[in-house]
């Protein structure tokens, strides 16, 4: 039985209203995902207590932090919430070590400070002033500082914004370690779909101040197209798969996704039997009406067209295929999206219900499960 964070709050903010009603199981990393201006940061501030809701209820487990009916409003410093701000917000008049000690001294549960310094690779930086750190170093130090408060839940407000891709890759493992090594459940605000698919166990989608969807990452992201968020992101399909075999000669792995066998390039550290998460971009999927011969593409999945979304003013259409099969002993179906021109759609005379072949040009590995 995991802890739950119960959100039921309303707050009018300038032009729009944050109005959320959701019971969140606190386990692993929950991404709070949505376009900018959706109210994601405002929701974090309401949870932390930096903003006071107009009315509603907020509690973690049996601890009530806000309740308008009972006139409860626990001040931020008495809530066991960690908060990682976009810019880190280290105290400029203290060294990195003093920043960490500030947090450790005030924590209810003690986590050995040296363990955290090592875990976040800060050993050489402890004597430095935060003003001399690089963007990535500052974030690592801020993550370490918030871990030391041993929070019941950690709120991360776009912690990687403003870092380049290489720097992000460097920090991501540290974010993953929050849950894996320190067992702190996280709510992670982002509008970057790659961060969501890489990090999150669950996703809460927010738009216009409301939670429009909540569920497992794979389910939510594969249905994301149904939401108005679609246009902002690369359309893609996300799958969980199991590594079933390995071709040493050609450096390929065989993976079973919902009954379909596909192969992908060798992944370092992958073992047979392991579950992994994969993403296939719609633009990397072509469609053939008959099983193709003499093509270089190895991954071909047969499926039935369940939906064709085409905009008369655009060149492209998005075709959704449904395929099914045995996966981990269960009969499951999955959806695969393909982005092809409307002209091809018309040439092949594609219709819903038609059985076609999807040719998958590339698959990207998103992480182990």
């Amino acid at each position: 039985m995991s802890d739950r964070l119960n959100l039921n709050m309303k707050k009018a903010l300038g032009g729009f209203t944050v109005d959320v009603k959701q019971s969140l199981p606190l386990d692993g990393i929950t991404a709070l995902f949505g376009p900018s201006g959706a109210g994601k940061s405002s929701l974090l501030k309401l949870i932390a207590g930096f903003e006071t809701p107009d009315n509603g209820h907020l509690s973690l487990r049996d601890k009530t932090w806000f309740d308008s009916a009972d006139k409860i409003n626990v001040p931020p410093y008495k809530r066991a919430v960690g908060y990682m701000f976009q810019d880190g917000r280290l105290f400029p008049h203290m060294s990195v070590r003093q920043n960490l000690e500030f947090a450790a001294k005030r924590a209810d549960k003690k986590i050995p400070i040296d363990q955290v310094i090592t875990a976040f690779d800060l050993t050489d930086l402890t004597a430095h002033s935060p003003l001399t750190l690089s963007g990535g170093e500052r974030r690592r130090a801020a993550l370490a500082r918030t871990v030391l408060t041993a929070p019941d839940v950690l709120l991360l407000d776009e912690p990687l914004t403003g870092l380049d891709r290489a720097r992000k890759r460097e920090i991501l493992p540290f974010v993953e370690s929050l849950h894996e090594d320190f067992n702190i459940p996280c709510i992670y605000v982002t509008h970057d779909i790659e961060e969501v698919s890489r990090l999150a166990d669950k996703v809460m989608v927010m738009s216009g101040g409301q939670i429009s969807a909540f569920g497992d990452t794979v389910d939510i992201l594969s249905h994301l197209d149904a939401t108005p968020l679609q246009k902002d992101y690369d359309i893609s399909s996300l799958f969980e798969g199991r590594i079933t075999g390995r071709d040493k000669e050609f450096c390929l792995l065989q993976v079973n996704i919902r009954g379909a066998e596909i192969s992908l390039p060798e992944i370092n550290g992958a073992a047979i039997g392991q579950n992994i998460r994969l993403r296939i971009r719609a633009s990397d999927v072509a469609i053939a009406a008959v099983r193709p011969k003499g093509v270089s593409i190895r991954n071909v999945i047969q499926g039935e067209i369940s939906e064709i979304v085409a905009d008369k003013h655009a060149a492209y259409a998005v075709v959704t295929l449904q395929f099914q099969g045995q996966f981990q002993g269960q009969f499951k179906s999955a959806e695969l999206r393909s982005r092809i021109t409307r002209a091809s759609c018309s040439d092949l005379n594609l219709q819903t219900g038609m059985s076609v072949y999807a040719l998958i040009k590339s698959v990207s590995f998103e992480g182990h499960l």
Binding site: P75, Y77, K78, G82, Y83, R89, F91, F102, R106, T149
Partner: protein, 223 residues
């Protein structure tokens, strides 16, 4: 021969006023810097009032307030057996009110410069508001404290109008430097007036020079 009694009395007064204002001005400035209350503009206007009010007006009201027939004046007489008017205690109270903005405004600017961001960060690390003030805000406002204290001290050294109204000119009790200079001029003792004036001028200049050299960070509104 110049009487240095007024010089010592002036310093004594300035030190006491600075210490008292540090104690009451700091929480007031902290409240002004952090409150979302709708009464904030009223409190700010009241704090700034001594900057624009003619000292004689302030002195006049204080004189009425200190009068043994008024509530405060009578209370003071009951408490100490002495009248507040024409006493050193009256001088201290008057100076505290008169110099209030010189302590509060630089502190408020300094506290505001620290910003809500770091206060939120401290709260997220389980630090109470008091803890945050002493360990985060105050150390980051060091220069603001220095400016506020020096300005308060210097301003108290130079006041004249309020003191003349409520303190009069009693040697050893209320005869501060500005009053002594005034008296020397009145009685045509220009040499003595010169010496005291030169000391006050040099001192004030040194104080301001010190502030401007060491502190260019916080805006200071010198009235």
């Amino acid at each position: 021969m110049v009487d240095f009694g007024p010089l010592l009395l002036t310093f004594y007064l300035a030190v006491i006023v600075t210490v008292i204002l540090l104690i009451i001005g700091t929480p007031l400035a902290w409240w002004l810097a952090t409150t979302r209350s709708r009464f904030k503009p009223i409190a700010e206007a009241l704090t700034a009032l001594p900057l624009v009010l003619p000292p004689t007006v302030l002195g006049f009201y204080l004189l009425i307030l200190f009068n043994p027939n008024s509530a405060l004046g009578a209370f003071w007489v009951d408490l100490t057996g002495e009248s507040l008017t024409f006493s050193f205690a009256g001088l201290v109270i008057a100076s505290v009110i008169y110099s209030l903005p010189f302590m509060v405004q630089p502190l408020q600017s300094a506290f505001e410069a620290v910003g809500t961001d770091l206060r939120e960060a401290a709260a997220s690390l389980r630090a109470s508001p008091r803890d945050t003030f002493f360990n985060i805000v105050a150390p980051l406002s060091k220069r603001g404290f220095l400016t506020a204290c020096i300005l308060t001290f210097a301003h108290t050294l130079g006041e004249f109008g309020v003191i003349l109204m409520v303190g009069g000119n009693i040697p050893g009790r209320t005869k501060v430097m500005s009053i002594a200079i005034y008296e020397h001029v009145e009685t045509l003792q220009y040499a003595q007036a010169h010496i005291l004036s030169a000391i006050l001028l040099a001192l004030s200049f040194c104080v301001l020079l010190f502030i401007y050299i060491f502190n260019r960070r916080y805006p200071v509104h010198v009235g």
